[in-house]
Amino acid sequence: MSDATMIVEGAYFDGYKPVGLPILFSVHGEESTLTGAGMIRTYRTSLLTVTPRIGSAGRFIYFPDGGQLLCADNQCLDLLASDSPTEGPVAWLEERVGVAIGCVVLIVVLLLCVYAFGLPAAADWTVTKVSMETEHSLGLDALFWLDNKKWFQPTELDNAEQVRISHIFSTLVSGSKMAPNYRLEFRLSKSMGANALALPGGIIVITDEMVSLAGSEDEIAAVLAHEIGHAELRHAMKQATQSSAVAAVAAVVTSDASSFTVAVAGLPALLANTKYSREFETEADEFAFKLLKQHGISPAAFASLMERLSTDHEEEEKAISFLSTHPVTADRIKRARELSAEKKGDHPSDAGTEMIKLDETDEEGWGLKK
């Protein structure tokens, strides 16, 4: 018999009683021996396995007869076959500080890339895979849900007014490829107040309160154009895709923190989603300005609509803008004014104003006031 290549001391557990026996384990090439506690047993080394290394914890050697030996971690133990071979390389990585730092850097870069490019691109791609018909029926479901949950009541606008607004609407969407899917719904909403929403599939809802707050037809056109922007750019579907992806990624990243803290886990998802939401608003604004100009309406109508209300909120809004689902109102107004100045010059409006409110499509958030 050759010299032992490895000798370790440990506690032996036979699997019948939870009591450890002090035992010496030695490997002599092909053969291994357990000695101590009144027994000597010999095994073929190739039949023994050892649990993978983890941190600085002790490891268990498994014997074919069901016994196990607990011994302190030891490089020599790697001579035995691993009980879970795929974990070996992971354990190797886990032991290196450099690797851990590299991983943190990689995680940060990866998350930023996914956030800035990956998810929006994935959402764009997903949207192309969903047919307009499917999206439209989703929108109808959503409208049905909102009606059912008493977010909306039947409109109290008279027929002439409805016809007038519908006419503006059909003029605005006349050039669109998805024109046949567009549908304008009038609703009274005590809970939302002046608001307009773009549901999936070109279903646009405008509340009576919004109609009465808008001072002119141009302002109604501005509201509608903004919502058409959301519909045309398929923001509802993109938002649904992005928010579920964000939720999934956030769940993975914060999985460790979730059980030891309260509500920290939701924070990154919240921040990410509101950022996307602000981007959608800005995109819809830009779309609306273009559409309005095409129809000879100055974007100033949009600005005037937003203006009065913003005087109430401006200061606070800046303070919490990173948490807001909408861009800072002043910036939106400024942008509208800039654009209107470009072509037509200022087009002051005497209208009453109201912010164009939210048009989220995740089921909890529909049209909630901020």
């Binding site: 939870p18 983890i54 914890a57 002790g58 690797v99 943190v104 993975v252």
Partner: protein
Amino acid sequence: MKLKPEIEAEITVLPNDVNPCKSALRDDIIGYYECPIVLPNGTWDCRMVFPNASGRVELGETATALIRFLIPNEALQGLRLDNTFQLLREDGIIATGKVTGFIVPPIKHVLKLEFIGSSREYFRIWAVNLCLTLVTLGIFSAWAKVRKRRYFYSHTLLDGTPFQYLGQPFPILRGRIIGATLFAVYYMSSHFLTSLLPYVLALGAVLAPWVIIRSTAFKARYSAFRNMTFRFEGNYWDTVKVASAWGVVPAIIIGMMFKWWNITWLQAALFAIAGLLFPWWISRFKSFLVGHTAFGGKNGQLFTTGEEFFGIYFLAGIFFVLIISVAGLSLSIFHISKHSAYYVALFSIPAYVGNVFSYAYIQAHTSNLFWNKATLGPLRFCSTLRGLTMAKYYLTNALAIIASAGLLTPWAVMRTMKYRADNLCVLVTGELTDFSGSNMTLVSAAGAEVGEFFDMDLSL
């Protein structure tokens, strides 16, 4: 005249300080423990001891006295003492003190439970596994789970021996794929193909008890101590009986299937009933799980009652409602408009803190209740978590994680686990050899292909 109490805060009465009662004067007394106190000289008379027992002071030559507390029979099921006492000297001087502790029946050994994980080590494991999970689009998460579990188990020592996690990545991966598929089906049917939802819910209701059994069994089978695995053996119908909560859960599911939710009062009534029954349900459900869990041929037992859980939830709920109303009231006193952004901030911070405190209270006290009322063969447990301390941990964890953009997560995990382990001890009333295995390691290794399903964490 009042003396400053010599026993000021808390004495943890170690269970091995408990002596069996030699002269059993009363049937409801099983023993006593003695607790040394320091008193100024004189003859002291014990005037009032806590309600469950009586006591007296035996003054020796020295200024140290032993106060003897008798232990009532309920201590068999675990009894926490939290009592003040008052001692009277001849000249009218009164000393008061407080004794807090936990008592169990005659204890032969105390097995030390310790968590020896280190933040540095766990940081590396966390970073590597998170990175690989993200890079592999989640596939690696099965390995990550195994690595983390392995780390937690093998750094939790009971009586010097680490626990063993025997789960393997591939069965977990398969379980996760099935779980993700089922979740996707549910998501699609609840968001897009709503006409399918009733069928999906019905299927889910039929599968749920099975999932509960399988995941609990998986957890038990792949947890081992000293080469002996835990086992869970519950059958489907028993699980249905317990999980259905006297028919409330089926009623809710049927309600979701047939859109009863449009009837507001019915929805409110069902949820009110479910909420009220919850403490009794959770007590029954946990007793069911513990009762069907075995180690070394001994089944566990849990002696909790619904009233005990109700008390915990009720207090936490009252506290939360109080905080919210105080916050709301003070805001309305200062005329802060509901539409103002400050309103949100000023309201949500107390609401968050109130939430943390009640959550921590519930966590600490349900955990204490569970462990202190559980037995496993010759083992008793003693859990001494405190709601305030837990809340402190939660709040500082949250702050540290936010401030470090998540990098302190491993640190938060380690310190919380350490706190929990430090506050749980295992007491042996008989001998460890009362446990007797049948070499179940081999059985479980052969049964390893029985995967886990939802990987639900029904942690107790």
